[in-house]
Homo-oligomer: 224 residues x 2
């Protein structure tokens, strides 16, 4: 693979490529970390566990990552874009802001449901670690809240819903979904995460005063 370097220092010998497959071991480390962190939590996971699960070594690990924190955050920052992208794609497929929120909710639930480990790390293990962890994690969560808020603002602008404190609403929505998912992750209830979608969807849409009807021929002229 051609990974361009921004080594523009002087004009002379360029392109030093990799020796053994660097990027691959990094990937293996990250993959192993995902598994181990999800299984044992941040504190419960020893660096040696990750080493073992990745068929790598201490030296390899600390060559790629400064310390345990570093790989944890690298993991989170590699994972969230995937979630964001999935949600973004779902949003882009809809035109109406309310329908976008609806789609985002469905995709979010589906994604969490499909990627337990990712969800566990993002929503459970990454909480309450102290230090600057909490702030960092909150910023990540904030990105999602901001996504929601943006759609809400658009919906308000479009006159689809009344004006409101969209920031609070966005965080509340995130929290509501988060709690449902966390409960599912820890106690296995409900069996299928997606089964709460209808109730949650109805609840959330009603909470912003949007019509709960979106099926086929949707006409907003009906009197609630």
């Amino acid at each position: 693979m051609a990974t361009p370097h921004d080594i523009s220092d002087n004009a002379a010998p360029r392109g030093h490529t990799h020796t053994r497959d660097k990027e691959a071991t990094r990937r293996r480390l990250l993959d192993a970390a995902e598994t181990v962190f999800a299984a044992k939590g941040y504190h419960g996971a020893a660096v040696d566990d990750i080493i073992a699960a990745s068929a790598s070594s201490k030296g390899g690990f600390y060559f790629h990552f400064a310390n345990k924190e570093a790989i944890f955050f690298a993991l989170i920052e590699a994972l969230t874009p995937k979630l964001e992208a999935a949600v973004d794609r779902a949003i882009a497929a809809e035109a109406d802001p309310v329908a976008q929120l609806d789609a985002a909710l469905r995709v979010a639930l589906e994604t969490f449901s499909r990627h337990r480990r990712l969800s566990k790390i993002l929503l459970v293990e990454a909480v309450g670690l102290g230090h600057g962890f909490d702030e960092k994690l909150l910023r990540v969560r904030g990105r999602f809240a901001a996504m929601i808020q943006r759609r809400l603002d658009l919906a308000v602008q479009a006159g689809r819903i009344a004006a409101m404190d969209t920031e609070t609403v966005a965080w509340a929505w995130f929290g509501a979904v988060n709690e449902i998912v966390v409960r599912w992750l820890i106690t296995g209830q409900p069996e299928r995460l997606e089964s709460v979608f209808p109730a949650l969807r109805e609840l959330l849409l009603r909470s912003i005063g949007a019509p709960p009807a979106t099926p086929p021929a949707s006409e907003g002229s009906a009197r609630p």
Copy 2:
């Protein structure tokens, strides 16, 4: 000075103080644990820290508590009843189920706002500890969700709101409030936690299709 316990302190009316004051040191340990856990988190807090903050000793600590886990749970199980009691009292003061939910929300926000440390422990530090911690914690949270659900069920029975999946709604509500409080705890936004009450109240009540106007005489404008 007003120590953290202005909710309700329950002291033994009759004292058979056998040797030295046993119950008092236990209290001091618990108080110190509350402070230390809130400040440094579960893993960040060393038993020695709690010892130091309580002017006790290793021997004393392990006389009263089997291990670190034990004092943590003892703390949680000493704290939640206070919260529950406060909410219960607020609920009892109202007759209408919807008004009860309203009151519960207000009191919950007030209580969290007043007891940062308690909130931090219950809502942040106690998450993602692994082992059987998560399950236990979820059960504690479940008690609150159950409280909400009970009121919702009553409201449904009373015909105040339409039938719905009250369990999911209860958890979603809890999650919504939780997220707002956690955000406030970690980033100090919003400055005053209570400032989100109106928006949250409106949001939650609307989410169950309850009329958003219930306050006695808070506004002088038109009412249905």
